[in-house]
């Protein structure tokens, strides 16, 4: 399956589909309801990042046909009017680049309500590609015509440490591997502030059944980091880190 990793998203050349990981819109805003005041810059930052990605796709001579959001578009489980407003802003921006019907929203474990009046799907299958959030193993994504599963949910990142153990830093990463005969690509969270959980720490997926891919299988996945210049850095298998 041919795809490119652009920023924290992935673009599938053959299908012309751009997949975006967990957005968690309303994170900052939701904190307000909990008594923490933060500046709300999230929608603008998301739009800025998306603009760069779409520009990049065009520059490389590809045609963007569809955009798939891989679930957990909103952060809080309950309904928030503000999140709807924020997402609408993002949605309006995107509909300038693709038709509205070609923006596909997948339901994550945080998405209990439909956003911006658009029906959300549990999964979306297009020409041997299956997109899903990753918390529920829908039988459809394991059917024969599917060659690759693209998911979010896990917010993978990698903790890097120098030899003397002096410096350590966390970076968002993609995980690529195989599960039940399908290729699998796991996207990092799209939200800047959520770094995610380090795959080489014990906290990663410490809760049993948290995702459709068991911890044991994740160990065989390979880690890819996209740096600020857009270069892809391969760090090998999780278990060898």
């Amino acid at each position: 399956m041919k795809y490119e990793l652009i920023n924290q998203s992935s673009f599938f050349l053959e299908q012309g589909i751009l997949a975006i990981g967990d957005l968690h819109i309303g994170y900052e805003h939701g904190m307000k309801g909990k008594g923490v005041s933060l500046p709300e810059t999230q929608p603008d930052e998301i739009i800025n990042d998306l603009r760069k990605i779409i520009f990049d796709i065009g520059k490389k001579g590809h045609k963007l046909k569809k955009i798939v959001f891989l679930g957990d578009i909103k952060h809080f489980f309950n309904y928030e009017w503000r999140e709807k407003v924020y997402f609408k802003k993002v949605f309006e921006f995107l509909s300038r680049h693709v038709e509205e019907k070609n923006i596909i929203l997948i339901k994550g474990n945080h998405d209990k309500f439909d956003l911006s009046g658009k029906k959300m799907k549990n999964y979306y299958v297009s020409k041997s590609l299956a997109f899903t959030h990753g918390h529920i193993a829908y039988p459809r994504i394991f059917e024969e015509d599917v060659k690759m599963i693209v998911m979010g949910h896990l917010h993978p990142s990698i903790m890097l440490m120098d030899k003397q153990g002096i410096k350590r830093e966390k970076y968002k990463c993609f995980l690529a591997g195989k599960f039940r005969g399908k290729e699998v690509l796991i996207l990092p969270s799209f939200m800047e502030m959520v770094e995610g959980t380090a795959v080489n720490s014990e906290y990663f997926q410490s809760e049993k059944g948290f995702s459709i891919i068991p911890e044991k299988e994740i160990q065989k996945f390979s880690v890819k980091v996209v740096n600020d210049n857009g270069e892809i850095m391969d760090f090998g298998e999780v278990r060898k880190l």
Partner: protein, 866 residues
């Protein structure tokens, strides 16, 4: 500036003349004569003079204040002139006030009433009201009907009642305001109180006379100014009551050889048990909560017939209120043989008869040590008996020098945080809840507080901007706490919830939630803050309580570890519970080191040096010998660093470059110096620098730690006046700034601990410190609360002023630096290296580091393939 004068002593007949006959008769039925404290205080207080009185524990301070006030009220009560209003406010930082108040106020009042009855004198009833965080709603309602004449409260509750228009009516003619335990207010709680006092002054029709009560404290003039505030028209006097409580102190070591003896811990418990058995009631200070539990458990297990739940108890601030009260009560009743506490029993509540105080580990300053042993023999003429139990050689030297300071009555100085913008935010919010203010009026009230007398108008306006919801923060949410109308220049509260929000979120003591660290056997060994856990990775080695452990896994609120002696720490050590050594005591140690160095370099005989140690530090031969050996080793191995010479040791261990600074100035100064040097050297070498800090010095390690980089850094720090700027850059990416920012954000009500009726633990706030800091920096790098966090790190956590002083000494050659190469760390630096590192100064850019690590991985993968 406020005028400060030293108070005179008054004669007994002068005092007697001002007392109402009933009060006088009552007094002399209880006491033979006026105490020295009363001779300094009673007359002045009677004449509404502002006064700061410092005297040791047992010096009848509280009664001195209340005697004048009661006298006045009895005079009014007899004339039937007592009105339904508050005449005196008493505030103390202690939670468990009621017992002290009972003894010093309620009992005298009852006895005077008895006496009046006997004599057929009819007195109006004099009412006393107590209001703390624990006061129930019905008690408060009762207080609103029958106004107490003497109002007893805490700094927090005082701030709350000052927001209530109704209650403030009762405060308008307060004549006396007593501030107890002032020596314990050298923190943000004190800053907070100073503003509450100004608020009280502001609502009062006449200036309430301030009576400050303190344990022995220095500098008296500054503390006196703190008490009354800074204005042209105020005057305050102070009295250093020349009372000398007799003290009997001694430094004890559990074993002869503090280095090689394997049974040091067992011997220490034997020594403890022995001392406890020889005394009636013993109080033990351990400095940390975890040590408190450890000592209690060990004594119970090792001596099951001597110690059980009925006669031994642990006391620390994380215990429930009921539990603590119960222990204090049993202590007063003489039911407990021994109580072990961290620091919690330092302050002045009456805890009954104690004949021995044991200090395990250094109390870190002479005033703290005096305060602690003052808990033994609470009455003035009793001798206070205290013993230092030392466990290593640095501790031995430190405790011995502190003992010398105690005996020679050298008191270390305290200071109050100034211009704290988080405290200011909370107070302005409270003031706006009380009424609508004119902005200039508000500013001028604030400027009268000692802690804000140098507040700039810009800082003030920034806080107003923050509170009124500017900085592009949504105006109508939690954020807009006040409104500010730039036309009318007026300020007021916003929203109906304001009072409730203020009431439930008030305070300055930060929350930290702790996770218990346990061995796989389940044995608890200590606690670390939750935030510290964010960074841990499997197989990480860290230092806790001087020992190394390897991290295994977390279950709920427990972290499981294995012992990891022999491995190198991979993450910074956890230190938050440690008390810093006072700068003054550090200088005393330096002075002692110089004396010792002179003797060794001039080849004095062993016997001469030992007897010098015994005389100089008031030690017995046994202990003096250990100190002699320690210095002798250092002298033979390298050189003794002292007040004139700071030795820098350069060595390489496990491929890492180390530079060890023998900077004997206490942790707060070392924290500043180490980061300044570390940051500049790191920048010169473009690699991160590891920093290890303790009270005796600090070390830097990493690829940037080269002599040439050190000289560059030194030149910069000595020639420029930029220590503050360097430090601000150095702390920008550290955990400590993130953590302190979180505390400041809570104090300034950016994070509400309790909101919409739900109160949250730190963990449940779901907000990692770094996340919060990141978000706010996007807003403005000069956001006032962020500036405050930087100030707090530099001035309260670190000691910027004294660090500047040390750099100055280096610049003018008063302190000479000497770099020496060693193969292994010298004896004086051994414990510094063993305890591991405290923080990392981040220099290398994240993206560069990513590239470097990727190359490294490719190389390893490449090798694997071969």
């Amino acid at each position: 500036m406020t005028k400060v004068i030293e108070s005179k002593k008054h004669t007994k007949s002068e005092i007697k003349k001002i007392l109402h006959p009933l009060v006088s008769e009552w007094f002399f039925s209880k006491f033979e004569d006026f105490s020295l404290t009363q001779q300094y205080g009673v007359f002045n207080i009677h004449n509404r003079k502002n006064i700061l009185i410092s005297a040791p524990t047992g010096g009848t301070k509280t009664l001195t204040a209340f005697l004048s006030i009661l006298n006045y009220l009895v005079i009014l009560a007899e004339k039937k002139e007592l009105e339904n209003k508050i005449y005196a406010v008493y505030t103390s930082p202690l939670k468990a006030l009621s017992n002290d108040i009972h003894k010093n106020l309620i009992e005298p009042l009852e006895e005077i009433n008895e006496l009046a009855k006997k004599k057929g004198i009819v007195l109006q009833k004099i009412r006393v009201g107590l209001r703390t965080g624990d006061t129930t709603l019905s008690e408060r309602a009762k207080m609103a009907r029958l106004i107490p004449h003497i109002f007893i409260t805490t700094p927090e509750s005082l701030a709350i009642i000052l927001t209530s228009k109704k209650f403030v009516e009762n405060l308008k003619s307060v004549e006396f305001c007593v501030v107890d335990e002032i020596h314990a207010m050298d923190n943000k709680r004190g800053t907070y109180l100073s503003l509450s006092l100004e608020r009280l002054n502001e609502v009062s029709s006449t200036f309430p006379a301030k009576i400050g009560l303190s344990a022995t404290v220095e500098p008296m003039e500054e503390v006196a100014r703190y008490l009354v505030g800074e204005t042209e028209d105020r005057e305050v006097c102070f009295a250093r009551v020349p009372l000398d409580k007799k003290i009997d102190v001694q430094v004890l070591k559990p074993v002869n050889d503090l280095i090689d003896d394997k049974n040091i811990s067992a011997s220490m418990y034997n020594l403890l048990a022995n001392l406890i058995q020889k005394h009636k009631t013993t109080l033990i200070f351990t400095n940390t909560r975890s040590a408190t539990e450890r000592v209690v458990n060990y004594l119970k297990e090792k001596f099951p017939t001597e110690y059980g739940d009925d006669n031994i108890a642990a006391h620390h601030s994380s215990l429930s209120r009921e539990h603590r009260f119960d222990i204090e009560e049993r202590l007063r009743e003489g039911k407990l043989k021994v109580v072990v506490c961290s620091t919690s029993l330092e302050l002045g509540i009456d805890i009954g008869y104690i004949d021995l105080v044991l200090m395990m580990g250094s109390p870190k300053s002479s005033s703290r040590a005096l305060q602690r042993i003052g808990r033994a023999g609470h009455k003035l003429h009793d001798t206070a008996k205290g013993r230092f139990i030392v466990l290593d050689r640095d501790d031995l030297v430190e405790c011995s020098v502190i003992q010398k300071e105690m005996i020679e009555r050298k008191i270390n100085r305290i200071g109050f945080p100034r211009n704290a913008l988080d405290v200011l935010s909370q107070q302005i919010y409270g003031m706006a809840i009380y009424k609508i203010w004119d902005i200039d009026e508000l500013f001028s009230v604030i400027k009268k507080s000692y802690c804000f007398s140098e507040l700039s108008r810009k800082d003030f306006l920034d806080v107003i901007s923050y509170l009124s919801g500017e900085y592009e923060l949504e105006k109508n949410y939690v954020y807009g706490k006040i409104w500010y109308d730039s036309e009318t220049k007026q300020i007021g509260k916003k929203g109906k919830m304001a009072r409730v929000l203020y009431l439930t979120n008030i305070g300055t003591i930060p929350d930290e939630s702790f996770i218990t660290v346990k061995l796989s056997s389940g044995e608890p060994i200590g606690a670390i803050a939750e935030g510290f856990m964010e960074k841990m990775k499997r197989k990480d080695v860290f230092v806790l309580g001087g020992r190394k452990y390897v991290y295994r896994y977390t279950r709920g609120m427990n972290v499981y570890v294995n012992s990891a002696e022999g491995l190198s720490p991979t993450i910074p050590s956890w230190f938050s519970e440690m008390l810093p050594l006072s700068f003054d005591s550090g200088l005393e140690i330096n002075k002692f080191r110089k004396e010792m160095k002179d003797k060794f370099t001039s080849h004095k005989k062993e016997k001469t040096i030992k007897s010098f140690i015994m005389n100089y530090l008031y030690l017995d031969e046994d202990v003096a010998e250990s100190i002699y050996d320690y210095f002798c080793e250092q002298h033979n191995f390298l050189e003794i660093p002292d007040e004139d010479t700071m030795i820098l040791e350069k060595c390489t261990m496990e491929g890492k470059n180390y530079l060890i600074f023998h900077s004997m100035y206490g942790r707060r100064v070392n924290d500043a110096l180490s980061r300044a040097f570390g940051f500049l050297m790191g920048r010169a070498g473009m690699r991160d620098v590891e920093v290890g800090i303790n009270d005796n010095g600090f070390y830097l390690a990493g690829e940037s730690v080269l002599e040439e980089n050190f000289h560059k850094a030194l030149k910069y720090l000595v020639n420029e006046k930029g220590l503050k700027e360097v430090l601000e850059s150095a702390i920008e990416k550290t955990d400590v700034l993130a953590r302190r920012f979180r505390h400041c954000a809570t104090r300034s009500l950016m994070i509400l601990r309790s909101y919409k009726g739900r109160s949250k633990t730190v963990g449940k706030q779901q907000m990692k410190s770094h996340f919060l800091l990141h978000a706010v920096k996007k807003l403005s790098n000069q956001f006032p609360i962020l500036r405050e966090a930087r100030r707090e790190v530099l001035e309260d956590l670190m000691d910027l002023e004294n660090a500047k002083k040390v750099l100055k000494w280096i610049a003018i050659g008063k302190v000479k630096l000497k770099i020496k190469r060693t193969k292994i760390p010298s004896p004086f630096s051994a414990s510094l290296i063993i305890q591991g590192y405290s923080d990392l100064i981040k220099i290398e850019d994240r993206q560069n580091f990513l590239k470097r690590m990727h190359h490294e991985h490719l190389r390893i993968i490449g090798e694997r393939k071969k």
